[in-house]
């Protein structure tokens, strides 16, 4: 077992200069580079200054010396508490790891009355036996939920359309509350639904049991209905009516919406944002298409590349900043998650942007048929016939079997960003994450080659843009601070 030297062992050479503290640097734009330390604090410098700094040629009178010192990039004779402070910040950043699995997804039915071409999972079928979760399976899954040490447990009902199996949702919520009388966790429920089937009985149940609603809204009526076909071609009208009903019965903040970017969405980011504003949402999550399930089978996934999506995203971000500068508070949620990592000591634990990867240890999926998957994307991959991330079955395997299996531990260990080629030296690593499921799907291994990774290219471009805005646009920086400290 390794031991660590006392602090005094490192202080010998400080009398006549400074020592470097660990940091990474990556080119930002032109001659500017971003430097980040172990806790994710950053500073932007030109290359000549970095060279001087690393070669110990930076004088203490230099204008950047104080910044480098205060942000823990160097240690000199009078920075005695720097190591303690940096260690505290590192510990704060990583504290969520000890909580283990907090998000538990129950796929209560794979059936759906929509037929969205970009959908990753749903089935057009009336066969309840084949595609609905049984009470027995739900009971086994619930027992696993409460084996997690996490003080906060979120149970999210997914589909297909989960409201097609509402009796099981009712059963799971009531059983979980029973168990929780002894377990005493912070328990939360979410139904991810298209709202087409919402009714007064369901809403009353949600009100009684404090259930949140998450729905889909792809944009204005014509775009939403094109993306999300259903009998009657009224998906948008039902979603909007449903949102209003939920707000009336449960409260304004009890319903959130997610959008998916199709090729038809690309030229219409302002329309999409305007729709969210018109419907009274205070933010939007601009999301690219995922490379799983029917999105691949129907060729929806490959209709646009990273470059086109980034143009869509940055156009949207610029427009959202315009709205905020005009006095309308409105958040882009993906940027907000990243900015929390960039500007605070905290890590929001967003599944796609965590390292070690959140598969299993942050999120787990109990599929309708009792199979357990490492993430939502893992079960979508399984619908394509690839069961790489199937961890076991609630009827056959124990908690230990599932969470200590090589099927889970190998991809987590191999994809750990701090030890992955290129990520291990990337200044954006503290803000980024490991996504072994994406890289397995798109490149055939858990790590992936980062120079050609769409995940890497997309996120690096966003990190660069956000850090540039923070440094160069005072208004944008003020807006970002409001987003992360509302």
């Amino acid at each position: 077992m390794s031991r660590f030297q006392p602090l005094s062992a490192y202080e010998g050479s400080l009398a006549d200069g400074y020592r470097l503290l660990p940091f990474r640097f990556t080119r930002l734009d032109g001659d500017d580079y971003v430097l980040t330390n172990q806790a994710g604090e950053f500073i932007v410098l030109d290359r000549i200054t970095i060279e001087k700094f690393v070669r110990h040629d930076l004088p203490a009178q230099s204008p950047v010396y104080g910044d480098l010192k205060s942000k823990h990039f160097l240690l000199d004779a009078d920075s005695g508490v720097a190591i303690d402070l940096l260690a505290l910040k590192v510990r704060t950043k990583l504290r969520r790891l000890a909580n283990f699995t907090g998000l538990h997804l129950f796929v209560v039915s794979l059936r759906c009355e929509h037929s969205c071409p970009y959908c990753q999972v749903s089935r057009q079928s009336d066969d309840k036996i084949a595609y609905d979760m049984s009470i027995e399976t739900a009971e086994k899954a619930l027992a696993l939920v409460f084996r997690s040490p996490s003080p906060a447990l979120k149970i999210e009902f997914q589909g297909g359309e989960p409201l097609l199996n509402f009796p099981l949702i009712r059963h799971i919520v009531e059983r979980a509350e029973d168990i929780n009388r002894d377990a005493q966790r912070n328990l939360q429920f979410v139904i991810a639904t298209n709202l087409a089937l919402i009714n007064d009985e369901i809403l009353e149940f949600c009100k009684t049991h404090d259930v949140l609603i998450s729905t889909s809204l792809d944009g204005p009526s014509d775009l939403h209905n094109k993306n999300r076909p259903r009998p009657g071609r009224d998906s948008y009208e039902r979603a909007i009516a449903g949102i209003q009903k939920v707000r009336t019965v449960l409260g304004r903040d009890r319903v959130s919406a997610l959008m998916t970017t199709t090729e038809a969405s690309l030229p219409r980011v302002r329309d999409i944002i305007d729709e969210y504003v018109a419907q009274g949402f205070e933010g939007i999550f601009l999301r690219p298409m995922s490379p799983y399930g029917f999105a691949v089978k129907t060729k929806s996934y490959n209709t646009y590349d990273t470059e086109r999506w980034l143009k869509f995203y940055f156009d949207g971000l610029d427009y959202i900043l315009e709205l905020n500068k005009a006095g309308h508070f409105f958040v882009e949620h993906y940027a907000s998650i990243i900015l929390t990592k960039i500007l605070t000591p905290f890590s929001p634990g967003y599944v796609d942007l965590t390292s070690p990867a959140a598969i299993g240890i942050g999120v787990i999926v109990y599929n309708y048929d009792g199979e357990v998957y490492a993430s939502d994307e893992s079960r979508m991959l399984a619908e394509m016939g690839d069961h790489t991330f199937r961890l076991g079955n609630v009827h056959k395997h124990s908690y230990q079997d599932i969470f200590l299996s090589d099927t889970l531990l190998t991809p987590i260990e191999e994809s750990f960003a701090a030890s992955v080629p290129m990520c291990n030296e990337c200044a954006f690593e503290p803000f980024c994450g490991a996504d072994p499921v994406f890289h397995h799907t798109t490149q055939g291994d858990f790590v992936g080659r980062k120079p050609t990774s769409a995940f890497c290219n997309r996120n690096m471009a966003i990190f660069r843009k956000l850090i540039s805005l923070v440094g160069q646009d005072d208004d944008a920086r003020r807006i970002f601070l409001r987003w992360i400290n509302p």
Binding site: M1, F4, Y10, F25, Q38, V54, I83, D84, A87, E425
Partner: protein, 109 residues
């Protein structure tokens, strides 16, 4: 750039050589990996120099090829700097992580 030379006779083949007095093989390999989206790099370690041949994935004009070679040289410089940082800060990196987890009960005795 000190420590590197373009092989004049092989300019069309995009060859650049680095002195082993200045750069390590590990640094060159890391830089080559970084440009894997643009080119595959053949690395030939000879006495006194490391010769890199950049095989671009797509045809490049002479001007673009030269710009990409210059980017590669800059990447080698960056990697060399990163190696210097990693070497100097390795014990401190471990110390900080040790302090960070000092109250978790996960440390060795």
């Amino acid at each position: 750039m000190a420590g590197s030379r373009d092989a004049e006779a092989n300019r069309s083949a995009n060859v650049v050589a680095f002195s082993t007095e200045v750069f390590s093989l590990d640094v060159i390999k890391r830089a080559a990996y970084r440009i894997a989206d643009i080119a595959v790099v053949d690395i030939d370690a000879k006495p006194g120099e490391i010769v890199c041949t950049l095989n671009f994935h797509h045809p490049q004009t002479d001007e673009d090829a030269q710009r990409l070679i210059n980017d590669f040289k800059l990447e080698v410089l960056d990697q060399d700097l990163r190696a210097a940082i990693a070497k100097e800060t390795e014990p401190m990196r471990n110390a900080i992580l040790g302090y960070a987890f000092s109250k978790t009960g996960l440390q060795g005795k």
